[in-house]
Structure formats: C-alpha cells, structure tokens
C-alpha cells in the first residue's frame, strides 16, 4: 500500500483546544504542548494567552499579554466556530477576567460536545503566587463546574486550593482526597512533590469512581540534577494524550508512561545543554525537536498504591 493509501485508511485525528501561553523562543506553555500532541496525531487548536519573546526562566523577556478583551474576543470566535473538541487543555491565563472568559467558553464546549477538560490551575510554585489573588476563586468556580475531568495542580497549587500544607506522603493522599471532596473533580494528579529530607521526587494521582471509591497511587522518580523550564507543560500534554487514549485504563498507567517520556526528553536536553554551555544545571530550553523520536515511549516505572 502506498503511503497515501495508508493515510487515507487512518481514523480522523482527535481535536483538542489548548489554551496556554506562547513564547517565540523555547518550549513552555503552548509551545511545549502543541508539537508533542500533534506528533502523537492530535489536531491541536492553540489559543495563546500571551506572546512573549521567551519564558521568564531566562531572567528577562519582552512581549504583550493578550488583554482580557482579546481573550474574550477569541473565546467568542471559538463559540462561533463550535468545533467538536474531544479534549480541552487549559494552562496559564494571566488574569481573572480572562480566566473567567476561558472558563465560560470551555464549559459551553463541554456541554455541547462532552469534551474531556484537563485543567492545570496555574497559580504559582515553591510557595509563591505568580498570578493575582483574584484568580484563585475563578479557578475554584471552574473546578466546581462539574465539567473538569482531570486537574493537575502542583504541590503549592493543591496546598492553596485545599488549604493544607503538604510535608509527608500521607498529606499528599489526604490533600487529593480533600480535592475530590471539595471540587468533585474525578481525577487529580500532583507531580514533583518534594518531601523534606528525601533525595527523589514523588508524582502522585488519585481517581474517584462514581460510587466514591478512591484509587490513589504514587511514583518515585529519580531526581535529575538540573532545573528545567517547560517540563511540567510537556508532562501535561503527554498525560492528556495518554489519559484520553486509554479511557478504560488507569490514571496510573497514563501518568507512568508520560513521566517516562518526559524523563527521556529531559536527559536529551540536559546533555545538549552541557555540550553547549559546559553546564547543564539550568536547562532553559527543552530539546523537543531533537528528542522527537522519543515522544512515543513506554512506561518504565512501577506505581505504588497509597495504603491509608
């Protein structure tokens, strides 16, 4: 069969709308999410909430944020287009009014097309907020809307959203349980959890079945000795793909596969950074293009179930 005949027998690609930041140079936000999703066969519509020269990890950047009015305009455009998205992915949105507009258009798309909505409630990291305080209640409203299938807060974000600090693995399980109870979101993933005194990181997830049964798990991930920008955004895109493609399979499998691929990309990126600068301590740009052959990897970790 010719290549063209093969293409013509394949099912249509799934459609996803990704609402995140855009940078001209580098791979964070939509720049980190779009290519891996496209490479794995998704038809990705990308709404850019900012257009910066590069991500702030470089220490400086220029470029405009889309105003709340711009984002409302684009949201109106999406309402007119009415594309039947299989999935929605929302990340960094710069202010409360824009986030409310994004929330409204996504909720409407979920109602019309039953889209799976993955929300990364971007608030801050390492104890610091990097959005205005008014954004928090807007995320709380979105999470309570009943349309969100999977949320991926980081440690700081889940602490903020459930009002508890995390300093042990037991706390992680409790926070995720509380998150299900407070917001009714069936699946939650918390990546990159640092437990004081431990030399690895934890990645955890929890699913609550309609009957209320909770399945929570975690992975132990070896620490890579570098700081990376964009790795969380890449993980989010891969997880959305893996989670959607295997709806019958567990969240644990989807997360395990995604973590394995991210690790490969990070190792390629770290090595390239060392070759370029002699040091790979802060890897500012993921080498997504160089590592594209590794984007369809398999899981190499084993999940551990939480026993409470």
């Amino acid at each position: 069969m010719s290549q063209i005949d093969t293409i013509l027998t394949l099912p249509s690609p799934l459609k996803i709308l990704s609402i995140q930041s855009h940078v001209t140079h580098g791979y964070v936000g939509n720049k980190a999410a779009t290519f891996p999703l496209q490479f794995r066969g998704w038809d990705v519509d990308a709404l850019n909430t900012v257009q910066f020269s590069n991500h702030p990890g470089h220490g400086r950047f220029t470029g405009p944020k889309a105003s709340a009015d711009d984002i409302q305009q684009l949201a109106r455009g999406l309402q007119v287009l009415d594309v039947p998205y299989a999935a929605l992915l929302t990340g960094y949105v710069p202010d409360a009014a824009s986030l409310a507009a994004v929330g409204a258009v996504c909720a409407a798309l979920c109602r019309r097309h039953g889209s799976v909505w993955v929300v990364d409630p971007v608030l801050g990291d390492n104890g610091k907020l990097y959005v205005s305080r008014e954004v928090i209640p807007v995320y709380q409203t979105i999470l309570r809307s009943g349309h969100v299938t999977l949320a991926t807060p980081n440690q700081f974000e889940i602490e903020t959203l459930v009002g508890r600090e995390i300093s042990s693995l037991v706390h992680v399980a409790q926070a995720m349980r509380l998150f299900h109870e407070m917001y009714g979101v069936p699946h939650v993933v918390v990546t990159s959890i640092h437990i004081p005194g431990e030399n690895l990181i934890y990645s955890s997830g929890s699913s609550r079945a309609p009957d209320g049964t909770i399945t929570a798990f975690y992975y132990r991930i070896p620490l890579i000795d570098s700081v990376f920008s964009g790795s969380g955004d890449l993980l989010l895109a891969l997880l959305t793909d893996a989670f959607y493609r295997q709806p019958g399979a567990s969240l644990a499998e989807a997360l395990g596969e995604s973590l394995s691929v991210v690790e490969n990309v990070l190792l390629v990126s770290q090595r390239a950074e060392r070759e370029k600068l002699g040091s790979g301590r802060h890897v500012k740009d993921l080498r997504l293009i160089e590592a594209r052959g590794l984007l369809k990897g398999k899981c190499r970790y084993t999940p551990v179930e939480f026993n409470e």
């Binding site: 063209i4 140079h25 850019n48 257009q51 293009i289």
Partner: protein
C-alpha cells in the same frame, strides 16, 4: 538512545497565527518541526481563524510589539540558520519585520531568508496599498535570498503585467537584478505557452482526461525552469505558506540545483492536496469548495497538516520540467 541525536536547525518564522486552521505559522511550524527544525514563531496576528471565514476575532500584533519581542530575543542571544516571513498585516508591521530580518542578516550572512510577499491573488489586493512600497523597500536591502510570489504579487513588485514568455523573463530579471534575490519561484502562473514548451513539460500525476493546468516557474543562476501543475479543483488557504516552509527546508539542507528543490516540494504539495481533498470527501460526502465568508464550509477546507505528517520528508519528483530559453 541518546547517541544518534543531531542538533536541530533553527528558523525564525514571522507569520500569522490562528487558533483554528492551518495558515501562516500554523501551516509552516509543524511540518518544519517534523523536518528537524526548532521553529521560533513570531506571530503577526493572533486571530480565531483566517479571514476567509467571514468573521474573524482577535488582534494584530503592532509594529511596536514586534520590535519589542525581537529586542527580547536579541537580549537572550540567538543564532538562526534561516528566516521565513509571510503574511504581515499593514505597512508599519512590514517595515518592522524588514528591520528585524535585515538586522539578523547583517549579523549572520549565512542565514537564508525566504520572503513570501503576501499581498493578494488573482488581481485582488488583500492588504493595504501602502504595503506594496514597504515590501519593495525591504527587497532593496538586497538581503533576501528567496522569494515566492504568486503572479499577481510578482507583477506588483516589478510594476508591469506578465502576459507572455518575454514579459515573464523580464520580470524575473528585474527581481534578480533590482532586488539581488538569488532564487525566485512564481507559483500559479496563468499563461499560455507555445505548444513545443507545453509538450515538453509533464507531470506523472497529471489526470490525462483533464486539459486544465497552471504553471509554476523557478529561476536561479540564469536558469528558468517551467513546471506544468495539474489543476486541482478545490480551494484551500495556507497552500503557499506550506510550500514556502518546505522549500526553505530543502534549500537549507541541499546543495543542488534550485529547480530540483522546487520539483520535490511541488510534488509534496500535490500529495498533500490530494490527501486533503480525499479527506474532505470522506468527511462531508462530496468534494467541497470553501466559500469565502462561509465559516461552515471553510471549517472543512483546512489543509490536513497533521494527517500528512509522513509526507513532508518525501523525495519523489513528479514533474518533468523544461528550461525556458
């Protein structure tokens, strides 16, 4: 696993962005990424969809914002193997993009600049009149390496009509000499050529039952090469943007005659259009022409950029072109 990974080539692509659909940067980025390019994308507009849909939402990037973003890039340091510029809405933004690219070229003459002077098609201008002199001013820098105008755009750049072989050759000479452009491709030429030229110019994929065709011409190093393109009955936006992106990929990677690169990419384009047409038929049950102003029809007539992922690397050449003496 990690051993055989080559560093990516780097391109700065300055074109439009749409949330939905495949034109401008959206048509160029993914195919170039698949071909191993790190694509830095500077978006000249941030729209919901392309203008053919009738209703468009979103904002243009101002000339000031474009300069500002470029200053940010300069500040963190860059080195580009190539520059790709396409649709820019308005003379001030065209001027800003010109300054940016001239600055990059003066720092690094090895960098290849492909400029698609997007102004209109088939006698219709879809930018303001003032954009024409702005493009001419950029071209007079003498730093553009490749241009890919359609017939109408080429006519605007030289200031006279292309009506026959002689005026076509005069147009090409003007573009090479006045603007110091190394390689020119004029896509979609609606011209009659003498029978002996027509007969020597064939395509493996031509439909023998159809006599309709248009021409494309490539001009480089004094050689003018004519390609006869089978007519495809459809209307898609973004075709030129994909063509320019893939052509730039080939020129940056191969030291061979320019016409060979053009032949290869025209062949890829035929396959992409064929797949797109077939998938439109599968989706809506019939061949569909996108109607300007109808969002419903336009939604189905987007290039199938994702489905065609495996086609961008193809090396087949479907055309037997002829040299135009």
């Amino acid at each position: 696993m990690l051993e055989d990974i080559l560093p990516a080539k780097k391109v700065l692509s300055i074109q439009s962005h749409v949330v939905h659909g495949y034109v401008g940067n959206r048509a160029a980025t993914f195919p170039m990424q698949c071909q191993g390019w790190d694509v830095d994308t500077l978006n000249t507009v941030n729209f919901s969809n392309h203008t053919g849909y009738g209703q468009v939402y979103g904002a243009k990037t101002t000339a000031g914002q474009l300069r500002d973003i470029y200053h940010g890039l300069k500040d963190i340091g860059f080195r580009y193997d190539a520059l790709l510029t396409g649709y820019i809405p308005g003379d001030e933004a065209v001027q800003a993009v010109g300054e940016i690219c001239v600055d990059i070229k003066r720092r690094d003459t090895e960098c290849i600049w492909l400029l698609d002077p997007v102004m209109g098609d088939e006698g219709q201008l879809y930018v303001e009149q003032s954009v024409i002199p702005a493009y001419k001013a950029i071209l007079r820098s003498g730093l553009v390496d490749i241009i890919t105008p359609n017939q109408f755009e080429a006519e605007l750049l030289v200031g006279f009509s292309i009506t026959d072989t002689a005026s076509l050759k005069r147009c090409l000479t003007y573009l090479h000499e006045e603007y110091n452009v190394r390689h020119v491709v004029i896509s979609s030429l609606a011209l009659e050529f003498p029978d002996e030229v027509q007969q020597r110019t064939t395509c493996d994929r031509a439909d023998p039952t159809s006599s309709k065709s248009i021409f494309a011409v490539a001009s480089s190093q004094g050689i003018v090469t004519l390609f006869k393109i089978p007519h495809i009955d459809s209307y898609f936006t973004g075709v030129g943007d994909l063509f320019s992106a893939l052509l730039l990929d080939r020129v940056a990677k191969h030291k061979r005659a320019f016409a060979e690169n053009v032949n290869e990419i025209l062949s890829v384009m035929l396959d992409v259009l064929h797949v797109t047409n077939r998938l439109v038929i599968r989706e809506v049950g019939e061949a569909l022409r996108g109607t300007i102003g109808s969002a419903e029809s336009m939604k189905h007539c987007e290039l199938r950029i994702i489905e065609c992922q495996q086609l961008y690397q193809a090396e087949e050449k479907y055309f037997l072109p002829c040299e135009l003496k």
